[in-house]
Amino acid sequence: MGLRAVRTDGFALVTVAIATLVAAPLVGLPLSFLTAPGGLSEFSGFVPEALVATVLLLLGVGAGTLVLGAGLALLVSFCDFPGRGWIEWALVLPLAMPGYVFTLFALSLDVPGIRSTAGAICVLTLVLYPYVYLLARAAFLGQSRTLLEAARGLGLSRRRAVARVGIPLARPAILGGAALALMEALADFGTVNLLGVRTFTDAIYRVWFGAFDRDAAMQLATLLVSVTLALLVLERLARGRARHAQLAARGDAVPPVPLHGPAAALALLGPLALVALVVLAPLAQLGVWSVESLAGGLLPPEFASAVRNSLLLAGISALLVPFAALLLAYGVRTSRSRLAGGASRTATIGYGLPGSVVAVAVIVPLGWLERRIDGVAGTGLLITGTVLALLYAYVVRFLALAWGAVETGLLRVPRQLDEAARGLGADRLDVLARVHVPLMRTGLATAALLVFVEVMKELPATLLLRPLGGDTLAIAVWQATSESLYETAALPALLIVVVGLLPVMLMIRLSGRRGAPLEAAQGAGAWAEELEATPA
């Protein structure tokens, strides 16, 4: 049936087409080494500099997020103290704070030594630790009580039982969280650029805009991709070891130990101070400046157009990307062909990749296509100078994010429903429209929300591909901050953070309250998976 099924299967073809559109630019990146072998020679100083800065950044952020994220997860999973229910979720809030917005806050305070690699490490650790925290917490809460009891029955104190059984079992999840945080750190452009740390993303930007050298940019992007892929492999290896942890996830959850007196106060106030520093204080400061600039009429004239551009781009992407993801996921489901499965895996590799890489990758095939069309019809810069290139980049970058949410929703629809509908005379498109989409509303809405927020926050791809006059809120924040106009940056930054809080709030609501710790853990885990959204 194989060949015939593929030939007659429209959905499999759509799946393959989407996958090709998404993956082709990325496959093209390394080709730049062939077409322009000496491309990087002009920038020979950039590579070692970027390599050292990037590796230092990764080491620092890795250590920082591991200690902070896993430590906080241990605290809320194994200890009980007044206010734990609130702290558990408040610790997730920094996810809504883009690195460059927190950098804006740190710069405005003139923190000594902030313009350094160490400064960037601190900033990124503070906004990225929730990845480790969420996955570690889910792993701890999913552990069965009997395993820790078995360790205690064998003569270990509670503390040592956690150290020798609890933490080793959660190690794959903790490392997986750290890998996610590192991929975000690797993709970051705003923080490192504003703090003057010359990593790969910054080098790509300088080569692109400073020298207009696309070949060199592509080659730098290729090098950055290799580092990202190495991280992905590490994450996969960590996950392979995670299988035995699931074997252990039976029985009741571990009951937390109550803390009293100073320990309880510290357990409450420490995390509270952290969240106040990373989320509340910046929000308050941005709020004050926003009110001042609104009252004083200090808003730049571009502000309105930046809001409009951001909303348009995010809105269109929020429709386009989940739709593509739905077609992709549904194609895999109905055709059940290996081809479609492989295609979906290929199509979702983009999310681990930095926005600057994606931008550099899509521009070349688009430019080629544009010249062809221009040659025939004389249309000029039809694509690369317009919003189309940017939307294409967003699809490549965020398809996996939407795919995760959509696929989770699709898996919850039992196959018997497909078969029942087909038996009642619906064709596959009917089934999608009349059965799946209504049943998957939540999944699709989640996907749309996630994409909307990510596009609002997105900086590097937008910066490299935006058409003339196409500044967004994120770009306004970056531009104003780099010129030390912090008050001007405040209102756009505030809008980005407030929008960014939406999915975090949604996750907290979906995960439910205390009392259902396992479910909550699964909710958080699933959400983190969606964030990661790289198919297993």
């Binding site: 069965s144 009997t146 395993l147 009891e149 078995a150 360790a151 205690r152 029955g153 064998l154 003569g155 270990l156 104190s157 509670r158 039982a161 020798r164 059984v165 080793p168 079992l169 190690r171 299988r243 035995h244 942890a245 074997l247 252990a248 039976r250 029985g251």
Partner: protein, 341 residues
């Protein structure tokens, strides 16, 4: 000398009284089974002894030390009690060897290695020392769990439904194996189970538990042959409870006259096990075969007696009676029965 003593232990969870006034002694080297239906509180009893729960009242004494009691609660890691969990709770990130050595952290290295090796040999798994729990069969996992509990040479080993997650076909063999390992290790052990066959065949003594209370303690033969209550009689094996009139050492029932263990008089009930009856094919018999359960070496018949009641009879499978056959049922020779409530 008693190795483990439980004195009047009670434990409630909210309004649920899980364990009520339980008193039990376990002698050194003895294997005691707590038998009861699910939800009777037997697992809670085990967790109270292990130290994972604190009793509301009563005390637990292990050897010479009170480990739980008024004003005293020794944490589980200081109790020298080994536990085999229902789902084994093997550490999935550690090898078999490391699992077994886990409780030996305070010993010096040579002793640790020797004990680990000896315990693995005891359970016959020395060849699996380097494997991970996920690579083992169910029976092997169980033996690792047992070895892990035995390695630190605990004063008491607790086994929580140790055979419930195994295939029925494996159970009988493993039961014998576990018993031999426990005897070899000269361990003092308390096992909880809801499986009466398991309890009867394995334990030196049996404690039958119902709704948080122990209703009878005794050797298996005694608990089976002299049930303390009608409920205990019905829970531990099959039984016919017959009404009758006692006078002196005998009781007259509709199935005939039985000898009584303890003389009595007046209207009574007696517990008659199916194997304490016999039957023969007779056209003018007093009962009819309604159903037949063939069990290999024996057969369980369900009869309808002419008085209307159902009677269970167990016989060797040498001679079979067909369903629908007319039979004559009467007491087997030299049967002694027990009064129940």
């Amino acid at each position: 000398m008693s190795k483990v003593r439980l004195r009047g232990i009670s434990k409630s969870f909210g309004r649920v009284e899980a364990v009520r006034e339980v008193t039990l002694e376990i002698a050194r080297g003895e294997l005691v089974a707590v038998l009861g239906p699910s939800g009777c509180g037997k697992t809670t009893l085990l967790r109270l002894i292990a130290g994972f729960e604190a009793p509301d009242t009563g005390c637990v004494v292990v050897g010479d030390e009170m480990v739980a009691g008024p004003g005293r609660l020794v944490p589980p890691e200081k109790r020298r009690i080994g536990m085999v969990f229902q789902d084994y709770a093997l550490f999935p990130h550690l090898s078999v060897e490391a699992n077994v050595a886990f409780g030996l952290a305070t010993r010096d290295r040579a002793e640790r290695e020797a004990l680990t090796r000896r315990t693995l040999e005891l359970v016959g798994l020395q060849h699996k020392a380097g494997s991970h729990p996920s690579e083992l069969s169910g029976g092997e996992r169980q033996r690792v769990a047992l070895a892990r509990a035995l390695a630190p040479e605990p004063d008491l080993v607790l086994l929580d439904e140790p055979f419930s997650s195994l295939d029925a076909t494996l159970r009988a063999g493993l039961r014998r194996e576990v018993e031999l390992i426990l005897r070899d290790a000269e361990a003092t052990a308390l096992l909880v189970t809801h499986d009466q066959e398991e309890a009867l065949s394995l334990a030196d003594r049996l404690a039958v538990m119902r709704e948080g209370r122990i209703v009878q303690v005794g050797e298996p033969v005694e608990v089976y042959g002299r049930p303390a209550t009608r409920w205990a009689a019905q829970f531990v094996g099959e039984v016919n409870v017959l009404a009758g009139v006692a006078s002196g050492g005998g009781v007259e029932t509709e199935l005939g006259v039985f000898d009584l263990r303890v003389p009595a008089s007046g209207a009574v009930h007696v517990a008659v096990r199916p194997e304490q009856l016999e039957l023969s094919a007779r056209r003018d018999g007093n009962a009819e075969v309604v159903a037949r359960e063939f069990r290999g070496h024996d057969v369980l018949y369900r009869l309808r007696h002419e008085g209307g009641r159902t009677v269970l009879v167990q016989l060797p499978s040498l001679e079979l009676h067909e369903v629908g056959a007319r039979v004559f049922v009467r007491p087997a020779p030299a049967v002694v029965t027990t009064l129940v409530d």
